[in-house]
């Protein structure tokens, strides 16, 4: 079924596009976000490219003596799992009938696209030969490699997600095609994130990662990541002011459904983190001694108590859970905690030297280099830039009306 795009989008010329992007419109804060993120992105990209062109990947602090995958890879994992989680949140209303989540569905789909693109960007800049990857992976057909399947399914997911966004942006929320795209993108991301989980989980030689249930652990933490991004970015679009929200969204923000979902996801994540840590501390298996080192790290303690336990109680408390500031605080704390968690998972899993003798007598130390941090800045700036652009170009607050009724303004003729 072909749908005419909204007139102003279909005929948008470059000057008009720029004008739309820079106009304050309904959310002046988004214009500010857009301008700042463009500036930050240009500067950070320039720094990264300069480092890569002059020093190559020697600009990273990763090396063959142990920490082979560092901050850029953990940032990639963080972002693509966030994208996964955002698709889960969007699917709550679009696939599973929890209609109270409709007001954030479109925003989640766009943010899922944005975080996925940012994740791929970081990965491309980390890889030795990103352009060679484009032909060597499809032609190689290494079907026993989990990384091959991760590439296949995350690429498929990106295509389906863009197609789904194209449909809902045209006001088509519920046609057979739109539903099929929704189901397909949900299924593809469940498989994609599982292959990412298995990419680590199947590595028997890395006992800290070796875990057949790692895809499930990633599923839970991805959902939590998605929920935190949903809360934080939705409030960002409305200047953390509920009065500016549409009635249904305001109802959702005031309601108990959102904090309850959030608290449940944090709770399960805490359980998973505790069970992983206790197993690691209890077991004598060579390779798990890293857990004793991990729990002594202040970063781990902060990540656990401030980043998970505190937001859990904030979102559990009947008096605090519905306050906007508490919701935003909880979301930001969880986002930071999960970001640290991904880095820890990645680095601590490689901390034990593998036959390095007296070259490395203890655990391997790793501090990301300036260039690696700049790659994170690139990813963050790109996320904010694309999100703000999306917020201005597409009506991310759209959602379908009650059953049988036509869509909000731009969705005329949806069914």
């Amino acid at each position: 079924m072909s749908m005419p795009l909204p007139e102003q989008q279909a005929q948008m010329s470059i000057p008009l596009l720029l004008k739309t992007l820079l106009a304050d419109g309904e959310s002046p804060s988004m214009t500010r976000v857009l301008k700042i993120s463009v500036g930050v992105l240009v500067i950070s990209l320039a720094i990264v490219f300069f480092a890569l062109l002059t020093q190559g990947h020697a600009a990273f602090n990763t090396n063959s003596y142990g920490i082979t995958w560092g901050l850029p890879i953990s940032t990639y994992v963080f972002l693509v799992l966030t994208s996964t989680g955002l698709t889960f949140i969007a699917s709550l209303s679009m696939l599973f009938g929890f209609e109270e989540f409709y007001p954030v569905a479109k925003r989640c789909v766009w943010l899922a696209v944005v975080t996925l693109v940012a994740g791929f960007t970081v990965l491309a800049l980390e890889l030795g030969h990103p352009f060679r990857m484009l032909w060597a992976v499809p032609l190689g057909m290494q079907y026993v490699s989990p990384m091959f399947w991760m590439g296949v399914f995350y690429t498929l997911y990106l295509v389906l997600l863009l197609a789904k966004f194209w449909r809902i942006n045209a006001g088509d929320w519920d046609s057979p095609l739109s539903r099929a795209l929704g189901i397909a993108s949900f299924v593809s991301v469940v498989i994609a994130h599982s292959t990412l989980g298995l990419l680590f989980g199947m590595m028997a030689m890395r006992p800290m990662w070796y875990d057949a249930m790692l895809p499930v652990y990633f599923l839970i933490t991805a959902a939590l990541s998605g929920a935190a991004f949903t809360v934080a970015f939705t409030y960002l679009s409305y200047d953390i002011d509920r009065k500016k929200m549409a009635p249904a969204l305001r109802e959702m923000a005031f309601g108990r459904a959102l904090p309850n979902v959030f608290a449940t996801l944090i709770g399960i994540t805490i359980l998973a983190a505790v069970s992983r840590t206790i197993t690691g501390l209890w077991s004598n298996l060579d390779g798990l001694q890293v857990y004793a080192h991990l729990v002594r790290s202040p970063l781990f303690q902060a990540e656990f108590w401030l980043g998970l336990v505190l937001p859990f109680f904030l979102m559990l408390s009947p008096t605090l859970q519905r306050q906007r500031k508490m919701q935003v605080t909880a979301a930001v704390l969880v986002m930071v905690s999960l970001f640290i968690g991904r880095l820890e998972f990645l680095v601590v899993g490689q901390m034990l030297p593998v036959f390095k003798g007296s070259w490395i007598p203890g655990f391997i130390e790793y501090t990301p280099s300036f260039t690696e941090w700049m790659l994170v800045v690139v990813a963050v700036a790109l996320t904010f830039l694309l999100y703000a652009a999306g917020d201005k170009l597409f009506r991310l607050d759209e959602y379908p009306g009650p059953k049988g009724e036509e869509m909000a303004p731009q969705g005329a003729g949806a069914r």
Binding site: T68, G128, D286, F355, G357
Partner: protein, 250 residues
């Protein structure tokens, strides 16, 4: 045909001549030890022991590095070597994660020693650096990971594939003491002064390596992981193969 190596730990003196020979033969950078002898200590004064352990690539029968490679850059030859095709490697480093023996090296890293050899002997644009000594260009073979590698790829021990692949067909052992076979024998085996290294066909029950493994009860490193290394160690009375990968066992 399955090339394999046997290292007699009772004979190894830890002199590192193998590591130096490998570095010279294959133009390795400082720290890029395709072949290394690892030193470690056990026990406490006055009962402390200094131990060492020679570690080339294990050229596993069931190589996890090959299985994880998303492009097929890492592959196994019909005669049993695990090699890297530098023209296919995308530098994702997953193989370095998946190798239980830590034998793989990424090209682009901060230098281990100063001055940075790569800036002293600058790249010619094709290779990652231009060593003042270098194997003849005719021997260089990027499809097999032989020679000076380009930037942004992973490299590792090839069992000196440029040598062993030229060996007479059907030979059971490459004995460095046989003048006819010496040039086909891996550099580390040729140079080993105490003669602790043996190289031959593991599929041939008549080969010296097969006999040594049988008679002296050859063992493989981290055998429980199932990679089935094609490098065997004869522990004898000199001690055992390390049971764990790291020094720090606390």
């Amino acid at each position: 045909m399955k090339w394999g190596m046997v290292i007699d730990l009772e004979k190894c003196t830890g002199c590192q001549a193998c590591s130096v020979a490998c570095g010279m033969e294959n133009n390795r950078l400082p720290g890029e030890h395709w072949q290394d002898v690892l030193f470690y200590t056990e026990g406490e004064y006055p009962s402390a022991q200094l131990k060492w352990f020679p570690r080339p690539c294990m050229h596993c029968e069931n190589p996890s590095c090959m299985h994880v490679c998303p492009t097929g850059a890492t592959y196994k030859t019909e005669d049993g070597a695990v090699l890297i095709n530098w023209d296919k490697c995308i530098g994702c480093k997953y193989c370095m994660i998946a190798c239980p023996y830590g034998v793989r090296f990424y090209t682009d890293e901060k230098p281990l020693v100063e001055p940075n050899v790569k800036t002293v002997f600058k790249s010619d644009g094709e290779h990652s650096w231009s060593p003042p000594w270098r194997m003849p260009a005719t021997r260089e073979d990027w499809k097999r990971g032989v020679g000076v590698q380009p930037n942004d790829v992973v490299s590792k021990c090839t069992f000196c594939y440029h040598r062993i692949s030229k060996a007479p067909k059907g030979v059971a052992d490459l004995d460095p003491n046989d003048p006819n076979l010496r040039d086909y024998t891996p550099a580390c085996v040729v140079t080993c002064a105490p003669g602790a290294r043996y190289f031959g066909d593991l599929d041939n029950p008549e080969s010296e390596v097969s006999k040594l493994i049988a008679k002296k009860r050859g063992v493989r490193l981290l055998d429980h992981l199932g990679n089935k290394p094609q490098v065997y160690y004869l522990a004898g009375e000199a001690g055992a193969v390390p049971s764990s990968r790291a020094n720090n066992k606390s």
